[in-house]
């Protein structure tokens, strides 16, 4: 299992489009990807779960990947979030 603390910097927060970009990207990997936020776990491959988390700009989240391709998944997750999720 690998994980990293990240700050969401895109202005919209995890809304429709950013959440869609992120969940689609994570869907490619076979490992489990979880976003820990405000004490809860959210399935990062699910657009609806990410939206339900209501993560706004400036929030601290932790991305946790667990499975065979966890390193690749985490690397892409970090890259996506740091680059502002395609906004």
């Amino acid at each position: 299992m690998v994980s990293k603390q990240l700050t969401l910097t895109n202005a919209q927060g995890f809304h429709m489009r950013p959440a869609s970009v992120f969940s689609t990207a994570m869907g490619k990997y076979s490992c489990d990807v979880t976003i820990k936020f405000n004490g809860s776990d959210y399935n990062a491959k699910s657009l609806l779960n990410i939206i339900a988390a209501c993560i706004k700009c400036g929030s601290e989240i932790e991305v946790v990947c667990s499975g065979s391709d966890e390193n690749e998944a985490l690397a892409e997750a970090i890259q996506l979030i740091e680059s502002g999720l395609g906004e």
Partner: protein
């Protein structure tokens, strides 16, 4: 006659087509062959995606990317692996596809509806729309094809879903009436994009109107006339053609710069009251916002909005706009009361404890607002405007507070615009008279003609015994306006106007002559004002102004200006 919210300008005359929501009832059952049921569900999803993609493509052609993206989002949602996975899991436990779908969708609908975030709440409508769409396919219910509606159709529905609106075609739909929604709802934005008159939130419209009945939809007044008589029809047909002629003419001014006939460029901004109104400012081709009233944020609630709430609202407006945004700090008191602030009743509220006076005495509240505005300044061209300034001291105090908060933010390494401008809303006679002094310390002026006229003429426009005095064309008011603008020019700061006079056709040549550089007007006036400005050369405006400034009565000025416009 039925009343509702005017959501899209224009007059529509046509026959009612009621879009009824189908009953999507079914009897939940246990399935014996879960694999086949799963396949049935997957087929329904495929068909849903295929239809939705087609609708999105149609919509992209008719109204553009933004609307199409909403529908494409529906495809992304229904393909959510978690959602599909859970539904299929329930099906494999023996549930039928309908109830598994409904159970999962309802779960997200209630989760999203309960969120305290507007954007998340809106997603509940998307999931509801998806549920209806997939259920209809599973149950074999045919959705009404709005595309095939006869010409001169007025659509009447409880609510227009994005998938319904995708079928709306300007050639046959002449009006829209719904029981829900407001000016910024999805249906309203779409109706305006398609230029179809719309009246929303008409109570019980579906049951009060009957299919085939002739109705008039007045999208400007927000009224629906059922079964109009001959006289009404005739008057509305005239109103309709006058509206269309004007709209066609004004459309020529969309996307253009605001320039006088002699080539001087002006800024043409909008006055707004809510972050969502920034959408309308953009739609109306406004070049920015010259007055964002912040009172609404404080209204209809029981406590002062938090810094974060205010920050989100200001940031939202800045992000939508991507153009200059002048935020006026809280203008409370006078006729605008907020019960939770516990303002004392005053004998003479307009002369009393309001606006900047209240804010400077209630520093916590004022600093919270200034901090929220400064934080939002990292996201756009945000400026601060102080209302009801009467002395230089008030401006200095306000500016000192802004500096104080800047250093706080710097210490905490919170981003903001170091060069944020702080301007004065010149709306008291005192500020107008000392405009030379204020101009040395303010970054800009914006003339608020509504209060300036009231204070200068010492008259309440709401009192019919004295309202005849209330006119920005009074020689005294015109002299003050001229003085304010001249002082601004002398000190190299920009002078705008955000009062109603800025959109007044008679006033515009005078303002051009005096040297005003920014006009901030209500959203529907933008193109009209751009047109009026384009008709004047500076030289002609100067001639008119010169004559007007020699006249000694409002009536004389009014009668003369009427002959030149």
């Amino acid at each position: 006659m039925l009343n509702g919210i005017p959501a899209s300008d224009g007059i529509g005359i046509g026959n009612v087509l009621i879009i009824e929501e189908h009953s999507l009832e079914y009897t939940p059952k246990t399935v014996e062959n879960p694999d086949a049921e799963s396949q049935r569900f997957r087929n329904a999803v495929d068909e849903f995606c295929k239809n939705t993609l087609e609708q999105a493509n149609n919509l992209r052609k008719s109204t553009g990317d933004k609307e199409a993206e909403i529908l494409e989002g529906h495809i992304a949602i229904i393909k959510d692996p978690y959602l599909c996975g859970e539904i299929e899991k329930q099906i494999s436990d023996g549930q039928c596809a309908e109830s598994a779908l409904e159970y999962m969708c309802d779960m997200f609908i209630s989760m999203f509806s309960a969120a305290d975030d507007e954007l998340t709440k809106q997603r509940a409508a998307d999931v509801r729309d998806i549920k209806t769409g997939v259920l209809s396919i599973l149950l074999g219910v045919q959705e009404v094809n709005i595309n095939l509606a006869p010409s001169d159709t007025v659509l009447v529905a409880k609510e227009l879903t994005p998938s319904m609106t995708a079928g709306i075609n300007k050639d046959n739909i002449v009006g829209i009436i719904t029981e829900t929604g407001g000016k910024t709802s999805h249906s309203a934005i779409l109706a305006r994009a398609l230029e179809i008159p719309a009246v929303l939130s008409v109570e019980n419209a579906v049951s009060l109107l009957s299919a085939g009945q002739q109705v008039v939809v007045d999208g400007m007044e927000g009224i629906v006339i059922n079964s109009p008589d001959e006289a009404q029809l005739e008057s509305y047909e005239q109103k309709r053609s006058a509206f269309l002629t004007e709209r066609r003419e004004l459309e020529n001014y969309r996307g253009r710069k605001t320039v006088s006939a002699s080539g001087e460029e002006y800024e043409l901004f909008c006055n707004i009251g809510k972050p969502d109104d920034a959408i309308k400012a953009v739609e109306s081709d406004g070049e920015g916002v010259g007055l964002f009233r912040t009172e609404f944020l404080f209204m209809d609630r029981n406590s002062i909005p938090t810094e974060d709430e205010q920050f989100e609202a200001y940031k939202k407006a800045a992000l939508i706009l991507k153009k200059p945004l002048i935020i006026r700090t809280l203008d409370i008191g006078g006729d605008k009361d907020l019960p939770y602030l516990g303002l004392a009743k005053e004998e003479n509220p307009f002369m009393g404890f309001r606006a900047i006076r209240y804010c400077l005495k209630n520093r916590d509240l004022f600093k919270t607002q200034l901090r929220a505005i400064l934080r939002a300044s990292a996201f756009g061209d945000v400026k601060i405007m102080l209302p009801l300034i009467t002395t230089v001291d008030e401006l200095r105090e306000g500016k000192a507070l802004v500096e104080e908060i800047k250093s706080e933010l710097r210490e905490k390494e919170i981003k903001f615009n170091e060069n944020i401008q702080v301007g004065v809303m010149v709306e008291t006679s005192s500020a107008a008279v000392i405009a030379d002094l204020l101009a040395k310390e303010a970054d800009f002026f914006s003339i608020g003609t509504n209060d300036l006229t009231g204070y200068t003429m010492a008259c309440d426009r709401g009192n019919s015994d004295v309202s005849y005095l209330y006119s920005a064309l009074q020689p005294s008011v015109l002299r003050l306006i001229k003085h304010i603008i001249e002082c601004g020019i002398k000190n190299g700061i920009s002078v705008g106007m955000c009062g109603e006079a800025a959109a007044n056709q008679m006033m515009i040549p005078l303002l051009i002559s005096f040297g005003l550089t920014e006009f901030s007007v209500s959203v529907p006036s933008v193109l009209k004002v751009r047109k009026t400005i384009s008709l004047w050369t500076k030289q002609e405006a100067d001639k008119v102004a010169e004559k007007v400034m020699l006249m000694s009565s409002e009536k004389e000025i009014f009668d003369y200006l009427k002959t030149v416009i």
